[in-house]
Subunit: 228 residues, 4 copies
């Protein structure tokens, strides 16, 4: 079966890719211990590749990554999938253009989420990447579809690839897993910078049409024209 | 004597394990210089394995770990045990289910302790790991049982595996030394995030029954079903 | 053609030098992901060497550096030049004594820029390196000469080699690219220290004639008498 | 000449030792670029070993350390000594029991110095190492004995091995260079923790007799009984 073979080779590639991308989380100080995870959608299949639950970042490899279906059930792997798998799976089910999801409790972004406050767009780098404020999602308990639904409802029709889930942490999405990791890194960076700016006064606003112009340019012009 | 031989092989294993776990303290920025220590109870013996006093983290190895009895007296080792040994020993004497103890002066947790303020439970990750607030213990001088007694009195019957000893620092406990290290890492992480959240306003409360639900799930479902 | 050959060997040397200097940006925590760049003027030529756009710091090498002319057009290289190339080029066109330019979004400096506030000179190390306050430049959109013009207008006749571009980040200049990198490192260091001093009160002023004396000494006496 | 030979071998040993100790400065995030230095007194000689001026921490080795006399003049070495040599030399001339001096602009300690505020003793670790508050020294310009005199006048008869020189940074002293480095590390650690404690309220005081008891114990009991 040709399709099955294609999918198998995609899974083999994505196991390594997702394991590698996890290294960016501790490297960018977005996580401590085992609290954070990256997943990728398997192209042309209702499957995702994700981190095993409760395993440290140093121990991650292609071998211990887990394959789950889009209901979050284990399909392949020696370990239980991340306890956040249901939320990742919900996003893939309801946002077909999304290829990657990242979850962290990164310090500054989580601090904004603990106050239930959106991060205002007062930096040009934030206009570039997020196209406006980073919004807050609802308080949602783990265990059913609440978190996934909160992510999808908050981000649908929104420019921002990041949502601050109330009292919890950050979820980011992207066309690829690498894009979602980049959004997680940038989200913490602007959460920190805007926090620090606010500590000693009020950041100056950026006019809405300037935000629009920066966002449009960045989405179309920045970087090399290479496959993601 | 079979038991003695078993104990000897346990000590050999724990010397290496405790030396290795100490690496997590500088790695997670919980300590500077030599100020922080990990101990493990030796199963089936009234003994503990702990860091030598005033030795740097780079120099720690199985060889220079110290074995003490549960009154804190040196039993085996070429070095003096940590000056916090009496506090660790007191915990093992009075909490038989505890297999590991960690002490640090990690920055944010110690800052809460300097104000004598408990850390309120306003993050889902804090509900998971601590099941509520992280409490403050009494001011206690080193040199007798005051610190040990303060730890045991504060944590007995409390969900939190961490106590903020007033004007001093953090002690964490766990079924294993690794669990106690994890609690020390998570304690600093939530101490920092809640501090930062509070700098610009008031974190939103999490309802008590949600904290209970998160705590129950995390203690039973999270991670792989493996020996600790 | 002798001159052309000289220029070619300068470019070969500067490709390596500029790639190496980029390592100082993540090492000093001035950047995340790909957001920051260093350039050097090619001596005796209307050319500059700069970072490729959207490429990570780990992947930078002499080979993927880009050569552009002083209008920001690609002259040599397999990659698109940094999207900030026009700003760098503008500086070289209008400040002939400048041999290096650095751009970052380093956290504390960018936080000052987000409030549109100059950093007051309240540290002797700041008097040494900046000779007074670090000034704020205008809000300027990427895409034309606005950023370059803002840098040049703010820094012309000013002692400071650093400008805080409003709501954006930092640009630093130097006789050499290494000097500009040093200014970027020192700018973030003093931005952070003065921020933290201000959090709990008002830093004490340094008298103007003391600032002058410190600046004069540092520019003439400090360091080894070696080629930069 | 036996004495001269002894001194030569001491200098050889101290060149390596002082170069090695400098690694602790970036490792503990006490310095950026080249701004910070360690020196050691040469036993039985009116000499000191110190960092060369303006050389980066990665490039330091026994070979490029500088030997100066206690007036700060170059005695041996291929490089100019640190521009802070006069201050180190003044300390050795006036405090015969001191064997090591360290200078840094570490962030939090320098922030206290910028406000001209002593760090109050509100942590047991601070009572241990500093025996009370960390005092502020005068504003002093580089270039004559002002800085050295400010250090000696502030620390003479004081328990603290650290002084916050106003608007400038920290100097620490110790019986050995290693002790002075430890004091520099601990000074920044408590400066940071007390700062953070103060951000959200008022740290609780520690009674004077408790500070005295902690200081007495720590100076006499802590660590291994080994040569420094």
């Amino acid at each position: 079966m040709t399709i099955a073979q294609d999918v198998t080779s995609q899974i083999t590639r994505l196991r390594q890719h997702v394991a590698d991308l996890h290294r960016e989380l501790p490297r960018n100080a977005l996580v401590v211990w085992t609290a954070g995870n990256v997943s990728a959608r398997v192209p042309d299949a209702d499957l995702l590749v994700i981190k095993p639950s409760g395993v440290g970042y140093d121990e991650l490899s292609a071998d211990n990554m887990v394959v789950a279906d889009l209901d979050g059930n284990l399909v392949d792997g020696a370990y239980k999938p991340s306890s956040d798998t249901a939320a990742h799976a919900y996003v893939y089910r309801h946002m077909p253009h999304i290829g990657g999801v990242v979850h962290t409790h990164s310090t500054y972004a989580t601090a904004w989420s603990a106050r239930g406050e959106a991060i205002p767009c007062v930096l040009t780098a934030m206009a570039d990447e997020f196209g406006g404020e980073i919004p807050v999602g609802p308080f949602a308990l783990i265990g059913d579809d609440s978190i996934g639904r909160g992510i999808v409802e908050t981000l649908s029709g929104h420019r921002s690839p990041a949502v601050l889930m109330r009292s919890h942490g950050v979820f980011t999405i992207g066309r690829s897993a690498r894009d979602a990791v980049k959004a997680a890194v940038m989200c913490e960076d602007v959460a920190r910078t805007v926090h620090i700016a606010r500590q000693l006064g009020t950041p100056l606003p950026i006019e809405e049409h300037h935000i629009d112009a920066l966002y449009a340019r960045y989405q179309n012009v920045y970087g090399q024209s290479q496959p993601a």
